[in-house]
C-alpha cells in the first residue's frame, strides 16, 4: 500500500529506536523494582529477562520475514483479510498510545519532583509536545535520525556513573543467590516493562534498508539495553546498602546526588535536564507509530491530521486531568500485562500460525 522509497532507515537507526524506546524512562526505577523482588541478586534476573526478550524479538523479526514489504497490518490483511489488519492496527494504536502516555507522564512527574515543582503539568506537557510535533510530522526518517543523534550525544553519561564508584561497597553484592532462585525468577517480572518497545519492528521492518540485518539488529539492540541496565543496576547496588535500594524511588538519579564538584552543587539538575532527551526516545517514536496506525486504518499516506489531533488531545486533556505518582505506577503495572501479551505472547503465537498455515498450504499443494 505504501511505498517505502525515500523512507528507509539504516541499521544503526533501527537499533537506536528500539534501544532508545526500551531504556528511556524505564531505567529510572529499574534497580529498585529488581531489588524489591530479589534484593541485590536482582541483576541476575536481568540476564534471564534479556534471554526472554531475545526470543520475543526474534519471533517478531521471524513474523515480518513472511511479508518483508509491508507492515504487520498489511501482513494480517494479506493472510486473514482486512478486518484483521484493522483490528490489529486499532489494538496497536492503543498500545502505542499507552506507551507514549506513560513516558510523557513519567517525564513530567520526574521533572516536577526534581526541577520545576511549581510549574503546572499542562505547561510542561505543552513544552514537551512542541518539539515532538516538529520531529514527528516529518515522518519516520526524521524520527530515526533524531534517535540516532540522541544516542550519539548521550554516550558520555555512563562515564559519569563510574565516578560514583568511589563510594562503592562491592561486598554488598555478596552472597550470590542469597535466597535461592525463586526471588530471582519473581524479579524477572520486573524486567518485562523495561524491555517493551521491540514491537515497533512490526512497523519499522519494511523501512529497513538491509532487511537481512534485522535479526542482527534486534540482538544488538536488546544486548545494548541489557548491558546498560546491568551497569546501572550494579552501580546502584554497590552504592546503596541493600536496605536502601528498596527505598529510593529513582535510584538512578539519587546516585548522582553524591557527586561533588567545586563549581556546581546539585549535579543532578543538569543531568535530569539532559535526560529529557533520552526520555523523549519513548514518546517521539511511539507518537509516530501511533499516528501511522491511525493513518493506516483510514488508508491515508500522510500522518498530519491524526498527529495534530493527538497533540491537541494531549495538551487539552492534561489541562483537565493529570495522573499522580500512584496512578502512574498503577498504569505501569497494567502495562506489564498488556506488554507481555502484545510483545511476547502475540508474536510467538503469530509466528506459529504463519508457519503452520504455510505448512498446510504446502501439504495441500503437494497432494
Amino acid at each position: 500500500m505504501n511505498s517505502y522509497v525515500g523512507k528507509q532507515i539504516t541499521l544503526f537507526q533501527f537499533i537506536s529506536i528500539i534501544s532508545g524506546s526500551q531504556v528511556s524512562v524505564a531505567v529510572l526505577n529499574l534497580p529498585r523494582k529488581l531489588s524489591e523482588a530479589a534484593d541485590t541478586d536482582g541483576w541476575i534476573a536481568l540476564i534471564i529477562g534479556w534471554a526472554l526478550s531475545l526470543i520475543a524479538g526474534l519471533a517478531i523479526v521471524g513474523v515480518m520475514k513472511y511479508y518483508p514489504n509491508g507492515t504487520l497490518f498489511d501482513l494480517l490483511s494479506e493472510y486473514m483479510g482486512r478486518w484483521a489488519g484493522v483490528l490489529a492496527a486499532m489494538l496497536f494504536a492503543l498500545y502505542f498510545f499507552y506507551l507514549m502516555y506513560d513516558g510523557l507522564v513519567r517525564t513530567i512527574l520526574v521533572t516536577k519532583t526534581w526541577l520545576l515543582p511549581t510549574t503546572q503539568s499542562f505547561v510542561l506537557m505543552s513544552l514537551l509536545l512542541i518539539p515532538a510535533y516538529s520531529i514527528v510530522r516529518h515522518g519516520i526518517r526524521n524520527v530515526a535520525r533524531y534517535a540516532e543523534l540522541i544516542i550519539w550525544i548521550s554516550l558520555w553519561i555512563p562515564f559519569v556513573y563510574i565516578y560514583t564508584l568511589k563510594h562503592a561497597h562491592w561486598v554488598y553484592l555478596l552472597p550470590l543467590l542469597k535466597e535461592g532462585w525463586l526471588p530471582i525468577l519473581t524479579a524477572v517480572k520486573a524486567t518485562i516493562y523495561p524491555m517493551l518497545g521491540m514491537v515497533s519492528i512490526f512497523i519499522l521492518y519494511p523501512h529497513l534498508k538491509y532487511k537481512e540485518y534485522a535479526t542482527k539488529g534486534i540482538v544488538i539492540a536488546n544486548s545494548i539495553t541489557m548491558l546498560l541496565y546491568l551497569f546501572v543496576t550494579i552501580i546502584c547496588y554497590v552504592y546503596f546498602s541493600p536496605e536502601e535500594s528498596h527505598l529510593f524511588n529513582d535510584p538512578v538519579i539519587s546516585v548522582l546526588k553524591s557527586i561533588e564538584f567545586k563549581f556546581i552543587e546539585r549535579i543532578e539538575v543538569p543531568f535530569i535536564s539532559f535526560y529529557l532527551f533520552i526520555f523523549s526516545l519513548i514518546w517521539i517514536p511511539m507518537m509516530y507509530l501511533l499516528t501511522y496506525c491511525i493513518a493506516w486504518i483510514f488508508k491515508r499516506e500522510s500522518i498530519g491530521i491524526p498527529l495534530r489531533l493527538l497533540i491537541i488531545l494531549l495538551a487539552v486533556g492534561t489541562f483537565f486531568y493529570f495522573p499522580t505518582y500512584n496512578i502512574n505506577n498503577f498504569l505501569v503495572r497494567q502495562l506489564f500485562w498488556v506488554g507481555l501479551i502484545l510483545e511476547y505472547i502475540f508474536p510467538v503465537c503469530l509466528l506459529c500460525y504463519l508457519w503452520l498455515s504455510k505448512f498446510w498450504k504446502e501439504e495441500r499443494s503437494s497432494l
Binding site: T113, W114, P117, T118, T119, V123, S126, L127, I130, H167, H169, V171, Y172, L174, P175, K178, F240, S241, P242, E243, E244, L247, K257, S258, E260, E265, R266
Partner: protein, 373 residues
C-alpha cells in the same frame, strides 16, 4: 497559508509559556544559610539554629544567626523567614551540627527527613556533633577565625583526608542508619579555650544514642579496618622496650604508612561469629627518638611496631564490643559470607557482635628509614 498559521500559533504559545517564570528569586532577596544546627534545651525543647553569610559593605559582622523553636525542620521555615530580610533558602547547607544533648534520645535521625525527601536539598553536607551546646558554638564568632561554615567544613575535610576523623555526609549517614550491618559515626567538635577544634569521631548506636568517642589515632585505626584509610596517615607509638628519659618521651617511634592491606575473614562457628582480621602496612619511618640500628636490625623494630599496632587494634575492638557499636561494618561482611546466620540476628547485630570472637594481627614492613641512618 496553513503553515504560517501554525507558526504564529506556535510562536504565541511559546511566548505565553516562557513568560511564566513566576517563581523567580533575586539573589538580593535570598538568605542562604550554610550551617544548620539542631539542639535540645534544658527542657528538652527542640531548637534550630542557622547562620548565613551577609554580603554588605556597611555591616561589620559577616554572618547572621537565626534561632527558634519548632516541631520539625520544615515547619521552622516560616520562623526563619521572619528573622531575615530575604527569603530563606535552606537548600545547600555545608554543615549540619547536632547538639550532644540530642544524642541522648532516640529518633533525632527521623527529624532529618526533609533533607532526604525534598529533592532540591543537597545531601553532601557534613554531619558533625558538637560536644557542648550548639548555640554556644554558633555565637562564638572568634575574630581570628574564618566564618563557622567554612571553618568547620575545612577542618573536617582536611583532617579526614589524613584519616584522623571521618567525613560523614548526610547521604552517608542515611546509609549508616539503614544498613543493618553497621552503626553510624561522624566527627565531633568542641570549643576548647575559646577555639573550635576537632576532637575525633563520635560513635552512636543504631537508634542514634551517643556511645563514645575515638581520638585521632584510634580513628586512623578504624579507617584502616574499614579499608578506607587514605595513604599518608601517620601513627606514633611508644615502645616499652626502649629507654625513656622523662619528661620527654624518647621511646617514641612515628611512621607514615604507604600501602595498607586489610583482609577480613568471616566465619560462624558454635553460634558465634568469628573474625580474623589481618592488616599489613608498608611504612616509612618519620622519627624514632631512641638510638636504633635500623640498617641491620630492622626486623626487630618491625616486630616491635607490629606488636604495638596489634595491641592497639585489639584494644579498639574491645572498646567497640564494650560500647556495643560496629562502625567498621563487620555486619556487612557477616551478611556477605554468613548470610543465613546474619539474617537471624540482623536486628540485634551490635549485641551479637559484642559476643563475637575478633582477632586482629598487624604486620609492619619498613620500606624506608629516611635520610639519616
Amino acid at each position: 497559508m496553513s503553515s504560517s498559521i501554525t507558526r504564529i500559533t506556535l510562536f504565541i504559545v511559546i511566548m505565553l509559556l516562557l513568560s511564566s517564570c513566576s517563581d523567580q528569586l533575586n539573589l538580593e532577596n535570598a538568605t542562604t544559610p550554610l550551617v544548620l544546627g539542631m539542639d535540645l534545651d534544658k527542657n528538652k525543647k527542640f531548637h534550630f539554629y542557622l547562620t548565613a553569610p551577609v554580603f554588605s559593605n556597611r555591616i561589620k559582622k559577616k554572618s547572621i544567626e537565626m534561632t527558634g523553636t519548632a516541631k520539625t525542620l520544615r515547619q521552622s521555615r516560616s520562623e526563619q523567614d521572619a528573622q531575615t530580610a530575604g527569603s530563606t533558602q535552606g537548600r545547600n547547607y555545608q554543615v549540619i551540627l547536632l547538639g550532644r544533648r540530642m544524642l541522648n534520645y532516640e529518633g533525632w535521625f527521623q527529624m532529618l527527613d526533609v533533607i532526604y525527601r525534598d529533592a532540591r536539598n543537597t545531601v553532601t553536607d557534613r554531619v558533625i556533633v558538637v560536644d557542648g551546646s550548639v548555640p554556644e558554638m554558633l555565637y562564638l564568632n572568634p575574630p581570628d577565625q574564618p566564618m563557622l561554615p567554612i571553618l568547620l567544613r575545612g577542618m573536617v575535610d582536611s583532617t579526614s583526608s589524613h584519616s584522623e576523623t571521618v567525613s560523614t555526609t548526610a547521604h552517608e549517614l542515611h546509609r549508616q542508619f539503614l544498613d543493618k550491618g553497621i552503626t553510624p559515626y561522624f566527627s565531633q567538635v568542641k570549643i576548647i579555650g575559646g577555639k573550635v577544634r576537632i576532637q575525633g569521631t563520635a560513635l552512636v548506636s543504631k537508634a542514634g544514642i551517643y556511645k563514645g568517642m575515638l581520638d585521632a589515632q584510634e580513628t586512623v585505626l578504624l579507617r584502616i579496618l574499614q579499608k578506607n584509610a587514605s595513604p599518608g596517615f601517620s601513627l606514633s607509638y611508644q615502645l616499652p622496650e626502649e629507654p625513656k628519659k622523662s619528661p620527654f618521651s624518647t621511646n617514641t617511634v612515628s611512621f607514615s604508612a604507604g600501602k595498607v592491606k586489610t583482609k577480613i575473614k568471616t566465619s560462624f562457628k558454635n553460634n558465634r561469629f568469628k573474625y580474623d582480621i589481618k592488616v599489613s602496612m608498608v611504612v616509612g619511618l618519620s622519627e624514632h627518638l631512641f638510638p636504633f640500628d635500623v640498617f641491620n636490625d630492622s626486623k626487630r623494630l618491625e616486630d616491635m611496631i607490629g606488636q604495638q599496632v596489634t595491641d592497639h587494634f585489639n584494644a579498639l575492638i574491645a572498646k567497640f564490643q564494650k560500647l556495643k557499636v560496629d562502625p567498621i561494618g563487620l555486619g556487612v561482611y557477616a551478611r556477605a559470607y554468613e548470610y543465613k546466620a546474619f539474617k537471624k540476628v540482623e536486628d540485634d547485630w551490635a549485641e551479637v557482635l559484642s559476643q563475637a570472637d575478633i582477632t586482629v594481627s598487624a604486620k609492619v614492613t619498613i620500606a624506608s628509614m629516611g635520610p639519616i641512618k
